[in-house]
């Protein structure tokens, strides 16, 4: 400390020697800055929760946003929402990383004469647009939006109509064009019906990744978990048909890999058997499609699909033996002939009598609205031909999310004036002349209609982080400036007014509007149940397409471009949490990869991690190979989401954009074809994968255990226990010694006067593996709750990832045997006899009297003995100072650190950290109860992972409470087990074995 610094410190601490040197308050002078005026609804130190809507995908889940001191710090599902009922996926959990993203456009930008963006004032920007709009005729103005079912959509339509401009083009890369087309042909309605996965005891999915990204994944995961998971001797059965095993398919009881793009034929074959054998009460109008079904007899279908006749017959019998549901339309059916697959699944549902039961029209799902790839393709033609003078783009990134051969970016350059409302400098915004950043969804007023009758609201939960403006307000301001009839169209002074006017029309009751409005805001929206609409086979149902994907010949393989469960279509790519989230299937992070079957890889001389040149008729990309047994031998796959040219520091120039390989021409149904024929060439370059995963086989360790429904039904029969040799029971005398030791420990604690042991809870967790799908929402929730830093690709390669909770994924079988995937969430097991505790030389790792294995950061000196001694490898060491902006591994660039949870310590370099069972929530609840005088109830403390788990697989609670759910699960003698229990660690986490419902 130099003299000047000393005087400075002295100055502020007042010179009192005792004060200057006492306590923790010495040299860092902190300021306390009170509000000028106390904000409503807010008490410093306590969280305020606001209801809003997740806009990370078109599913429209409800949010509760936790706000501390005016800042959103965490989002959790809104329990009132009929869609997600309190749960969220990884992408939803990462919404705050969009809000505080350091790469957001911080103020309006205009392209200067030198071609670079320069700041511009809002007034000047609006004046420039007005001038342009006054100078061109309306028919040369185009507007591209993402899916905005609600007030914004109608505002844009009215605004464009007033201008005399063309109707807006909605573009979502997943627009479900094939579904709408097929539903129109088969049922005469192009809406998307509601599928009830909970009521279906038998689910047959033709490529629909209904728990990854398809339609409404959180809702469907909950329903699937309800309908499928094991419960007192009963469970559903799920068969997945797709050449690639997606994350959803990992939960299947049976995976059938047909020839790529032949799912439709298989569905028709199953329908054929049902009608032929009258396995269900087939509706009489099925006669309309009799010839269609006749053509698809099992023998010919078997020839097309490569699925045996016996399997087809069996599927038909299984499908009709229970209440069932067939779904098609996920990425497995996103090829040129996808409408044929969806149509076939529709017919299958119809002949089995599912329409009106598990498939209902009425409460139609609206993902992606009227999105159409074909209309974007025709816009490109117009732009290239110079027919577009002014182009507005909002909520879509077509320059990235269309095949490179479409030439969207190049065509944009032919447009005189391009305005982007993007929050990021994405690939489309980089081509714009003006970038007018919109508010983040957490900063704006808006509404959304994810399905007929469900209207959800968004409200600003905090002041905008940057100088952004809501696009609705910008459009209204422009209308006012344009004057004349355009201005006269709108009476609303602001977008909020416009929104409220719409909600006044939505109100059905006679209460004063502000009462209705306040209640809707608090609830998160308004839900009504529209009546069910009966549908029949349409007259033209017999004319459905029957095509299949043309199998490539020779050395060519079929490439599937599928949406990444974490990054979706790429919109999540600039969120470090999502980049660092190991892909649920491959466990790879921060990059693109090519999935290839090990057999094919061997044939082509390709090893894991080698860089492969993948060439289609359109482009070539180079990407590292990942050997994946869950993909058919003639198929390879690359996830979407990476390969942005711009977008931000996390996404830009990372991996490859698989869409580059695809054909630009729209398919017959107006969508984008996600299949293409490719050839591979091994460059022999090598890039090690950034993955936290070790072996993908359990090597007999019995970590993720499973059993079958049949074995549970007949426990008396000897079933082959695959891991029996490792699950050797602990000898009785050892058990006794351990019990005595544990008792002695509690006695000692009590004698020390520290703890009243009998009154204390014993915290424990139980995880039902028959529910867990491996979706990894819990992992991201854990990052958000516990201030876990992301480390980046380079450090992930060195296995320096910090995730306290990981999803382990193991393969069983494969080759000639059916491939089975097991997933297991692994976090600190809070062992009763923890190996980490006795080896800590400074007592930083110790056991609390309420059963937690605690880690005291300020004691930890970083010997890492605890981690070395932990058999579960769930302790993570801070090799870097992730919260220090001068450190190379700094993880929280301004303003990303605003999302840090104030209740959790930010760890510094040199300390060990790990899962705490969300101790901050336990202590917070205990303090709360101390004030209210109430006693702890089961379910009062909910850790972040349990809170968000869409499948409800995780249960946390007090083992000492005889009525607690966790106690019931922990004592489940049928399926309960401890991972590596034979090591005598006595974990507080009990796993319930996965159950497979194999074919009879």
């Amino acid at each position: 400390m130099n003299r000047r610094r000393f005087l400075k410190v002295l100055g502020v601490t007042g010179g009192g020697g005792a004060t200057a040197l006492s306590g923790c308050s010495t040299d860092n002078v902190e300021k306390l800055i009170p509000y000028l005026v106390p904000p409503e609804n807010e008490i410093p130190g306590l969280a305020t929760w606001y209801a809003s809507t997740c806009r990370e995908c078109p599913a429209g889940c409800g949010f509760h946003v936790r706000v501390r001191e005016g800042r959103a710090v965490k989002v959790e599902g809104n329990p009132n929402s009929p869609i997600n009922q309190g749960k969220l996926c990884s992408r939803g959990q990462a919404a705050t990383q969009g809000l505080y993203n350091p790469d957001r456009v911080r103020a309006p930008l205009s392209r200067g004469d030198n071609g670079f963006f320069e700041p511009i004032t809002w007034d000047a920007a609006l004046a420039r647009i007005t001038e342009r709009l006054n100078a061109v005729s309306g028919d040369r103005v185009w507007f591209v939006t993402g899916n905005e079912a609600g007030a914004f959509d109608s505002l844009v339509s009215e605004w464009l109509a007033a201008l005399g401009a063309n109707p807006s083009i909605v573009y979502e890369p997943f627009g479900y064009e094939a579904m709408r087309h097929a539903n129109r042909v088969v049922f005469g309605s192009d809406s998307i019906p509601a599928y009830d996965f909970a009521a279906a005891q038998y689910v047959l999915s033709f490529g629909a990744d209904f728990m990854d990204t398809w339609l409404s994944p959180v809702e469907q995961t909950r329903q699937f978990s309800e309908g499928h998971s094991y419960d007192s001797g009963r469970m559903g059965r799920y068969v997945h048909v797709e050449p690639r095993m997606s994350m959803t398919a990992m939960s299947a009881d049976e995976w059938i890999a047909p020839n790529p793009g032949t799912e439709g034929a298989l569905a028709l074959g199953v329908a054929h058997v049902i009608v032929r054998d009258r396995l269900a009460s087939v509706p009489s109008d099925v006669s309309r499609i009799q010839t269609l079904l006749d053509r698809n007899d099992p023998a010919s279908v078997s020839g097309v699909t490569g699925v045996s006749v016996a399997t087809i017959e069996r599927l038909a019998h299984e499908f009709t033996a229970h209440s069932s549901l067939a779904v098609a339309g996920g990425v497995g059916a996103q090829h040129d002939q996808a409408h044929a697959s969806v149509a076939a699944a529709n017919i299958l549902n119809y002949v089995a009598g599912n329409v009106g039961n598990t498939v209902t029209f009425g409460a139609d799902i609206n993902p992606s609205g009227e999105s159409s790839y074909a209309s974007v393709a025709s816009l490109v033609d117009d732009m290239a031909a110079g027919r577009v003078a002014v182009l507005f783009v909002h909520g879509a990134d077509p320059a990235y999310a269309t095949p490179a051969n479409l030439g969207f970016a190049a065509a944009m350059r032919a447009v005189e004036f391009k305005v982007s409302f993007s929050r990021f400098l994405d690939d489309t915004a980089m081509e714009a002349d003006l970038v007018l950043p919109d508010h983040d969804p957490l900063e704006q007023w808006n509404d959304f209609e994810p399905r007929a009758g469900v209207y959800t609201l968004q409200q600003p939960v905090m002041q905008p982080v940057f100088d952004t403006r809501q696009t609705g307000d910008v459009l209204l301001a422009l209308a006012a400036q344009l004057g004349g009839s355009v201005a006269a169209t709108f009476t609303a002074a602001s977008y909020k007014d416009y929104l409220q006017a719409r909600w006044q029309r939505l109100q059905r009751d006679r209460r004063p509007f502000d009462v209705f409005w306040t209640e809707a805001l608090q609830r998160g929206g308004m839900w009504t149940e529209p009546g069910e609409r009966a549908v029949r086979l349409a007259a033209g149902a017999a004319t459905v397409a029957e095509g299949t994907w043309p199998q490539p010949s020779g050395e060519q393989l079929t490439l599937i471009a599928y949406p990444s469960p974490a990054l979706y279509d790429g919109r999540g790519a600039n969120r470090p949490w999502l980049q660092e989230l190991p892909d649920p299937v491959t466990k790879l992070t921060w990059n693109s990869w090519l999935e290839i079957n090990p057999v094919t890889a061997e044939r082509l001389g390709i090893a894991d991690g080698e860089m492969i040149e993948v060439s289609s008729a359109h482009r070539t990309v180079t990407v590292s190979a990942h050997l994946y047994p869950g993909i058919k031998e003639d198929v390879v796959a690359i996830p979407m989401g990476q390969g942005h040219r711009w977008f931000g520091r996390y996404a830009g120039a990372r991996g490859v954009n698989v869409l580059d390989l695809l054909a630009a021409e729209p398919t017959e149904f107006g969508g984008m074809g996600h299949f293409t024929a490719v050839t591979l060439r091994n460059t022999k370059d090598y890039e090690p994968a950034a993955t936290p995963a070790g072996r993908s086989r359990q090597m007999g360790r019995g970590i993720a255990q499973a059993t079958t429904l049949a074995a549970l039904a007949h426990p008396e029969e000897q079933h082959e226990e695959e891991h029996s040799e490792h699950a050797a029971p602990v000898p009785e005398h050892i058990e006794e010694v351990l019990d005595e030791w544990q008792e002695a420990q509690y006695r000692e604690w009590k004698q020390r006067g520290n703890y009243a042991a009998e009154d204390l809870p014993r915290w424990a967790m139980a995880i039902d593996l028959s529910k867990c799908t491996g979706c990894s929402a819990c992992v991201t929730a854990c990052y958000a709750e516990n201030n876990i830093p992301t480390v980046g690709e380079k450090l992930m390669r060195r296995e320096r990832g910090m995730a306290w909770l990981r999803i382990e994924r193991y393969f069983e079988g494969g080759g000639d045997e059916p491939l089975e995937v097991r997933v297991l969430p692994m976090m600190c097991q809070h062992c009763g006899n923890a190996p980490c505790e006795p080896v800590c030389p400074v007592f930083a790792a110790y056991h609390t009297p309420d059963g937690l294995n605690a880690q005291v950061y300020n004691r930890c000196v970083g010997t890492r003995y605890c981690s070395n001694n932990c058999p579960y490898k769930v302790r993570y060491f801070n090799w870097w100072d992730h919260s220090n902006e001068n450190d190379a591994a700094f993880s929280f660039p301004d303003p990303l650190h605003w999302l840090l949870n104030p209740d959790v310590t930010v760890r510094s370099k040199g300390v060990m950290e790990k899962c705490t069972f969300c101790v901050q929530r336990i202590r917070g609840k205990q303090n709360e109860l101390k004030l209210s005088g109430e006693s702890l109830q089961d379910g009062d403390v909910v850790p972040a992972c349990q809170q968000t788990c869409p499948a409800n697989a995780i249960v946390f609670g007090d083992l000492n409470d005889p009525d607690s759910r966790v106690r019931a699960m922990a004592t489940d003698s049928e399926r309960g087990y401890h991972v590596l229990g034979s090591l005598n660690t006595r974990p507080a986490v009990t796993y319930l074995k996965k159950v497979t419902n194999s074919a009879d």
Binding site: G14, N28, L32, I43, G45, T48, E69, V856
Partner: protein
């Protein structure tokens, strides 16, 4: 808390500087600028230096040499001995959240102005306060009680422990109603915390937890 507020938050700025947020891992620091014992309500009866009814005649001294005062110099020379000592204003009149929030907080400028819109005209420091209010500037108080960010101190639980454990504000904050300038009274070190926890355990024959994970997480 209600799951959803009826209206969005009104315009405001964050309570801490960005710098402070980064350093402190947001608001993990439990910090108090000042705490005064509620003399008027008789909360402090029984402690040796407590103000009694006879002391209501206490008159805060005139101070000419502020340099000799203990504690950091603040942007406004706010005198707790005048407010809490001489005028017997209950501490929770200004520190409103002490009973409900883990973070006691310090009064907003607007709550100062409740009185000083009228009271105190002619006093230089009150003029200074009014200038802050008029210009809409925040007052940047220097933090006196600063805990490390790896310690979690639930202020509300301690304030509410008065009946059960005879714990009063003065035990930690000292005789605030006699302080012309606030200084740190308690050591705020772990031993100091534990001494009290053990003492109260013995005194009331119960368990006041000394488990690490009650505060460190």
């Amino acid at each position: 808390m209600d799951p959803a507020g009826p209206e969005p938050p009104v315009a405001h700025k964050g309570i801490m500087t960005r710098h402070a947020i980064l350093l402190a891992g947001s608001l993990a620091t439990v910090s108090v600028l000042a705490f005064v014992i509620a003399t008027a309500s008789g909360k402090a009866q029984g402690t040796p230096q407590a103000t009694t009814a006879a002391d209501t005649a206490f008159e805060a001294p005139e101070i000419t040499d502020t340099a000799s005062l203990e504690g950091p110099r603040q942007p406004i020379f706010f005198r707790h001995d005048v407010h809490a000592g001489q005028y017997l204003i209950d501490c929770q009149y200004c520190h409103v959240n002490t009973e409900v929030s883990p973070k006691p907080g310090i009064p907003t400028v607007s709550s100062c102005m409740n009185c000083h819109l009228v009271a105190g005209t002619g006093i230089a420091e009150v003029d200074s306060l009014r200038a802050y209010d008029r210009d809409g500037r925040e007052i940047e108080w220097v933090e006196v009680h600063d805990l490390a960010q790896f310690v979690h101190f639930p202020h509300e639980v301690h304030v509410n422990a008065e009946e059960e454990f005879e714990l009063v504000c003065e035990d930690c904050h000292g005789q605030v109603d006699r302080m012309a300038q606030i200084y740190q009274f308690g050591a705020l070190k772990m031993g100091w915390c534990l001494d009290c926890h053990k003492e109260k355990s013995e005194q009331f024959d119960t368990v006041v937890s000394t488990d690490c994970s009650v505060c460190h997480y």
